[in-house]
């Protein structure tokens, strides 16, 4: 009885309904329910983080043990992880928070994580070019329209466009504010209705694939 899908489906229903009803009640404690629930999610996720780390480190540990082809890199990952956690703990003890300006934890953040983040992010400059080259072919009317709009807007965004015609940047703005906005709004309305559908299917237990 306890093991079945019954209780989880009831929990989902109950929590979902509480969320919806509280939305209309400003009185405590219902008024802050959205904030509270997101905090609670963070707490649950905080515990679950242990499962995640177990999954990640476990996988690389197995690779290491098997002497997998890339075992060395698995070692790098495990060492990187361990070092960060150890430094984090030491600095938490030393400064009260690992996020202190002078802590080595912050150093790791500034000189390892930040450059890695921004470099990965900047790969997009290359990928956006290769994707455009490959995909923007005038296969049919819609594809042609897509590539022409893209080119116009690309030109309209740089000083070059202004030199070709002063109207180009203005036209770009118009495209962004009128047809672009219309389609975005239409897509957005569809998404909201779709979200309603998904939520209601979940709350009413019609969709239960997330439970085994």
């Amino acid at each position: 009885m306890l093991k079945g899908k019954g209780i989880p489906i009831f929990i989902t229903f109950l929590v979902g309904m509480i969320m919806i009803i509280s939305f209309f009640i400003p009185h405590k404690p219902f008024g802050d329910i959205e904030k509270i629930s997101l905090n609670w999610y963070s707490i649950i996720a905080g515990f679950t983080m242990l499962l995640g780390v177990d999954s990640l480190i476990g996988m690389h540990f197995r690779k290491l043990k098997r002497k997998d082809e890339n075992w060395f890199f698995s070692l790098v990952l495990i060492l990187g992880f361990t070092a960060t956690v150890v430094v984090g703990i030491i600095e938490t003890v030393r400064f009260g928070t690992a996020f202190d300006d002078k802590s080595y934890f912050t150093y790791i953040y500034n000189y390892f994580i930040v450059p890695l983040q921004s470099t990965m992010f900047s790969l997009l400059a290359f990928f956006i070019a290769s994707a455009a080259y490959r995909a923007f072919r005038a296969r049919n009317f819609d594809a042609t329209l897509l590539l022409i709009t893209a080119i116009i807007v690309m030109l309209g965004r740089v000083p070059l466009g202004e030199q070709i015609s002063p109207y180009l940047p203005k036209f770009t703005e118009w495209i962004m504010q009128v047809p672009q906005m219309a389609a975005k709004r239409g897509i957005g309305l569809g998404i909201s209705l779709g979200a309603l559908g998904v939520s209601i299917r979940i709350i009413l237990g019609i969709e239960r694939s997330y439970l085994s």
């Binding site: 209780i7 929990i11 229903f13 929590v15 979902g16 969320m19 939305f23 905090n39 609670w40 999610y41 707490i43 649950i44 996720a45 905080g46 515990f47 983080m49 990640l56 790098v76 990952l77 990187g80 960060t84 956690v85 984090g88 938490t92 690992a98 790791i108 000189y111 930040v114 450059p115 890695l116 921004s118 900047s122 790969l123 400059a125 455009a132 819609d142 329209l145 897509l146 022409i148 893209a150 116009i152 965004r157 770009t172 009128v178 047809p179 219309a182 389609a183 709004r185 239409g186 897509i187 957005g188 309305l189 569809g190 909201s192 979200a195 939520s199 209601i200 979940i202 439970l211 085994s212």
Partner: protein
């Protein structure tokens, strides 16, 4: 000194990541695994410092907010996944979190998007001019786009034409937002090149 070493580390990692553009290689593998390892560790500490301590322990111990036993309970039974005999308990936590998402989804969709966006489409016209034409175009675009997302009838007749025009609007929008983003992406690259050329190699001045 620490800064100089830091800059060399940062520059090295930057180049390692860029080497991926040529092909997968040991340098990228090194940077990638280091990145994943470090950030996984970073998030553990982050979760402690910004979630478990301030959201759970402090309020519970200092302010006696025992209601927090509920999320703690669901968090802990998530960990029953380590013990196959009782791992079914973790489904309760999953049901709890999914329920929160679904509940927030309902009111969020109505208040956060549907009502304000429909309202935004209702614009007082200022007379028969270019602005009115633009408003008409927006209304027309929203309607045809919505027709494209009409699922429960076969797309024939009016629906077919409507959804065709809708997809045209969608394609224009995609082209525009693609083109609009290029500049920001190139800026990111310029930023990294700046860093390499000025902070590291010091050739820019």
């Amino acid at each position: 000194m620490g800064t100089t070493i830091g800059i060399w580390i940062a520059a090295g990692l930057t180049l390692f990541i860029y080497s991926f553009l040529y092909k997968d290689n040991p340098f990228y593998k090194f940077a990638e695994h280091l990145y994943v390892g470090i950030t996984a560790g970073y998030w553990i500490i982050y979760t402690w410092a910004y979630v478990i301590q301030p959201m759970l322990l402090d309020p519970m111990i200092k302010n006696k907010q025992f209601i927090l036993i509920i999320p703690a309970f669901f968090g802990i039974i998530m960990l029953t996944r380590w013990f196959p005999q009782i791992s079914w308990l973790s489904r309760w936590s999953i049901a709890f979190t999914v329920g929160m998402g679904a509940g927030l989804g309902v009111t969020g969709a109505i208040q956060g998007f549907i009502l304000p966006q429909v309202q935004a489409t209702l614009v007082p016209l200022t007379g028969f001019n270019f602005e009115t034409f633009n408003n008409f175009l927006i209304v027309f675009g929203v309607l045809t786009t919505l027709i494209y997302f009409y699922f429960s009838k076969e797309q024939k007749g009016v629906l077919r034409w409507g959804s065709k025009i809708g997809i045209t609007f969608i394609m224009v929008a995609f082209g525009a937002s693609f083109g609009y983003t290029v500049m920001a992406r190139i800026s990111l690259l310029i930023g990294r090149i700046y860093f390499l050329l000025s902070d590291w190699l010091k050739v820019l001045r």
